[in-house]
Symmetry: C2
Subunit: 254 residues, 2 copies
DNA sequence: ACTTGTGAAGATATTCACAGCG
DNA sequence: CGCTGTGAATATCTTCACAAGT
C-alpha cells in the first residue's frame, strides 16, 4: 500500500504489551490501597506481593511505561497512581451503558468499582417495558427503543451487555451502529463486530470449567499416588445425591 | 509461594497447555450448539469461526487431546463433545457453593450456564442472618456459621466468592480449611491460598479498565498529528510486516 | 547498600505451511 | 481433491541475573 494510514494492528498497544496492560489495573488497585494508607514509597518487591505477581515481572511492566522509580528507594506511590491512571485513560470520565437489567445487570449497576474509577453509568437499558421507569441503583431504567438516542446524547463509547445470549448479537450491532467502540460482553456468545471495535468477554461458566479441569487433575494425581486401593483419594471427590443430569451421551464412534 | 508446576510429565499426552485448556469450554459451547441442530460433522474452519478463533489454533488445540478428526471430512460433533467434556471433567457432577448472596451472588445462582454443564449449586451461603432462610433461585440461603458442615456434607471442592472485598480473604480461608481446593473469586482482592489450591478471579472493573486503555488509544490515533509526549520511543524490531491481507479490511472511522 | 531497569535466556503461545491420509 | 495433524518458524511473555544508578 502506498498511501493511506499505516497498517497498524488494532490490538497492538503503543509499545505496551497486552499482558502488561492487563496487569496495570492490578497494580493500580494495590497502589490505591497504599495511597489511602498514606504510604509514600513502595519497592517493587512489596508492590508485587500486594498485587500477586513477582517483582521481576512488575519491574519489566513498569519499564514499558518509563522510568518512574528511584534506584535504591522504590516507587513514589502517588506519582505511580497518576501515571498508571493516565496510561489507562482513567483521568477522563467514561460514560457507560448497561444493556439488560436482570440480576447481573443490576449487580453491575450497583458495583462500586465502576464509579470509583473513571466510569460512570450513564444509562441502564432494558427491552422489557415493565422495567422501564424502575429505579436500579438509583438510576432510572430506560427502554431499549431509546438506545441510539441515549448513546449519542451521552457520548457513550463503552457498552456492557448483560442480556440473554439470544439477543446479545443484535444488541451489539445496535450499540456499534450508534457509536460504541468497546464492549464488555457477559452473555455466553461469540460476538462478531466490525474491525476497530474491541470486545472483552467475561464468561462465568468458562471460568468454572477451567477450574473443573484442574480439580479433576488434582483428583487424578491423588489417586495415582495412593495407588487406587487407598480410600483417601475418594474422600475429596464429589459425592452425595447425584442430580438427574445424564446430559452427556456416551457415544463411542469407532 | 513458588507454585511448583515445573513438573514435566514424561508421558506426552497429559501436557495440555493452559491456553488450550482455556479455549476448550469455548469449543464445547460451539459444539453443543451444533449438536442441538443435529449437525453431524464440522470442519476446523467452521468450528473455529463459531468459536471465534482461527482454524490453525483450533487444530493445534485438538491435537493435544488426540486425533479425533477425520482427514478430508472434519470432526464428529457428538464424539468431540464427549471427548472435551471428559477432558474438562464435566462428565462428573461438581457441587459448588456460592458465598455472599448479594446482587452478584444471586445473579450467579440464577445463571443457567451453571447447572447445564456439570455444575450444581449445592448451597448459597451468606453472613447476614436476615438472608438465611430466604429463597434465591429456588435454593434456601444458609448462614455462614454452617459453612464447614455444608462443604463437608456435600463434598464441595469448588467455591465461588461473591462477598465484599473486606471479608473475601477470611471466607477463602474457611473454604480452604473445610476442603475446598478451587476458588472462583469475584471480589476485587488478591487472595492468598496455600499451595495446591487454584484461584481464578473475575474482575469487572479490570476488564473495563483494559477497554478504556484501548479506547483512549483509538481516540488518540484519530488526532495523532501533534503528539510529542510519548516517553517510549518505539524501537521497531524486525517488522518486515508482510501484508497478511485477506483478513484485515480497512474500516472507516465512524 | 539497596533497588531499579533491562539485555539475554528461557518458556509459552500462535501461526505457517505442507506432508499425509481419507 | 479437502481437511487434519504437526514440525518448524515466529511472536509473545516470563524469568534471570547483573550493571547502573542513588
Amino acid at each position: 500500500m502506498a498511501t493511506g494510514r499505516t497498517h497498524r494492528p488494532a490490538t497492538r498497544s503503543r509499545g505496551i504489551p497486552e499482558a502488561t496492560v492487563a496487569r496495570l489495573p492490578l497494580y493500580l488497585r494495590a497502589l490505591t490501597a497504599l495511597s489511602e494508607r498514606s504510604v509514600p514509597t513502595v519497592s517493587s518487591e512489596e508492590l508485587a506481593a500486594a498485587a500477586g505477581v513477582n517483582s521481576a515481572k512488575l519491574r519489566k511492566d513498569f519499564s514499558y511505561l518509563g522510568s518512574y522509580g528511584t534506584r535504591g528507594v522504590g516507587y513514589d506511590v502517588e506519582y505511580l497512581v497518576y501515571q498508571i491512571s493516565r496510561e489507562l485513560g482513567l483521568t477522563q470520565d467514561w460514560p457507560v451503558v448497561i444493556v439488560g437489567i436482570g440480576n447481573l445487570g443490576a449487580a453491575l449497576a450497583n458495583y462500586g468499582g465502576f464509579a470509583s474509577r473513571g466510569f460512570r453509568v450513564a444509562a441502564l437499558i432494558d427491552a422489557d417495558p415493565e422495567m422501564a421507569g424502575k429505579q436500579v441503583a438509583g438510576i432510572t431504567v430506560q427502554h431499549s427503543d431509546d438506545m441510539e438516542r441515549i448513546i449519542e446524547e451521552n457520548g457513550v463509547s463503552i457498552g456492557v451487555i448483560t442480556t440473554p445470549p439470544g439477543v446479545a448479537q443484535q444488541v451489539c450491532e445496535r450499540l456499534v451502529a450508534a457509536g460504541v467502540t468497546s464492549i464488555l460482553n457477559f452473555a455466553p456468545t461469540v460476538l462478531s463486530v466490525p474491525d476497530g471495535v474491541d470486545v472483552r468477554k467475561v464468561d462465568l461458566s468458562i471460568e468454572l470449567q477451567i477450574l473443573a479441569f484442574h480439580e479433576q487433575r488434582k483428583a487424578g494425581e491423588e489417586a495415582a499416588l495412593t495407588d487406587g486401593s487407598s480410600p483417601v483419594a475418594a474422600t475429596r471427590k464429589q459425592s452425595a445425591d447425584k442430580g438427574p443430569d445424564g446430559d452427556v451421551p456416551a457415544v463411542m464412534p469407532a
